[in-house]
Symmetry: C2
Subunit: 200 residues, 2 copies
């Protein structure tokens, strides 16, 4: 049994991840309603989380704010909101977290299929997904103490289809429990530096 910090536990992706973590002790973190409160855009908030939890073997992140607009309409501010959360926030989870995580621990980050299957309004989401998928593939080579880093790159969840379905014509949603398997494979396997696509 591992101690796993699950960031964004109350969201739909967090609930999907949770289905793959049933054999572990899961500590929930998020903006509210969790064991710990954390804002991934704040280095101080992340550092407090890792310090306060103490011993942990894995961090699973399921959050990252993305702004949606057509490219010609998207503002610098919308770009930076997305970059500071989904991209720099996730890099900081690994950057700060690696100081505190147990030997042979793992980080599992979240991206999304829109960098592979682009759709209107999602350019910032796609670009930062591409950044994080690249990041995990490259940073894995230099993690200390046997620490692993992977990302989960899922298509839309069945559980979120009512929210996103209209902007994703022709996409086949997948059940959260299938995406949970990818989180499980990252946390419980030995794979490192991999992007785990979950698409139908």
């Amino acid at each position: 049994m591992k101690t796993v910090i699950l960031i964004g536990a109350n969201g739909k992706m967090g609930q999907a991840a949770l289905t793959g973590l049933s054999k572990h002790k899961v500590i929930t973190a998020g903006r509210s309603g969790c064991d710990y409160t954390v804002d991934i855009t704040s280095v101080e908030s992340l550092r407090n989380l890792f310090k306060e939890v103490g011993h942990f073997d894995a961090v699973v992140n399921t959050v990252g704010v993305c702004e949606y607009a057509s490219f010609t309409e998207m503002t610098e501010k919308q770009w930076m909101t997305t970059i500071l959360s989904k991209m720099m926030g996730q890099i900081n989870i690994v950057r700060i977290g690696q100081e505190y995580i147990a030997d042979n621990g793992s980080f599992t980050l979240i991206t999304g299929i829109l960098n592979i299957k682009p759709i209107p309004f999602a350019i910032a989401d796609a670009t930062t997904s591409g950044a994080i998928d690249t990041f995990v593939q490259c940073v894995a080579h230099e993690m200390p103490r046997g620490i692993r880093v992977n990302s989960i790159n899922p298509t839309v969840l069945e559980e979120a289809w009512d929210v996103y379905g209209e902007m994703m014509p022709g996409f086949q949603p997948v059940p959260g429990s299938l995406v949970g398997k990818a989180f499980e494979r990252s946390v419980d396997g030995f794979i490192n530096g991999q992007v785990l696509y979950v698409d139908a």
Copy 2:
């Protein structure tokens, strides 16, 4: 003959790009010693450049500041310097430039092979290259007025081997004139949303 704005014309990559632009009217831009002064990290500076030049058919960018450090040593500030220049700076070249560029114009951005062939100290370079390579592949679908966007992803230049060779063991440098062909193929072809790798 097209009017091409070449950003970073005095650098080694700018000189490589120039070898592929010989049939065009090239307007040089950079931090100093060029026809126009521009700082790609400033939206205002970019807007001034495009306004002042007036008519142009293509923008070729060959600059982007990257900080180099091992991942565990790289600071938030070093990450942000790299993100604001190589990533957001290049996105802004397209974002602002598309308001001014001629119909059927093109943007050619610069990345680099380290997202495909990672090496120590280059995690920020690799991550932002991954972001820009993803960006061009996705944004191409929504550019107005026939405007195209591509990126050139070269390995190290022969002309820069004395600077970078030591940190890139086992890499085969390529001549700038070969990389110039990729810039030419982007500017003079009809390809769009492509990453043009130049590797040996």
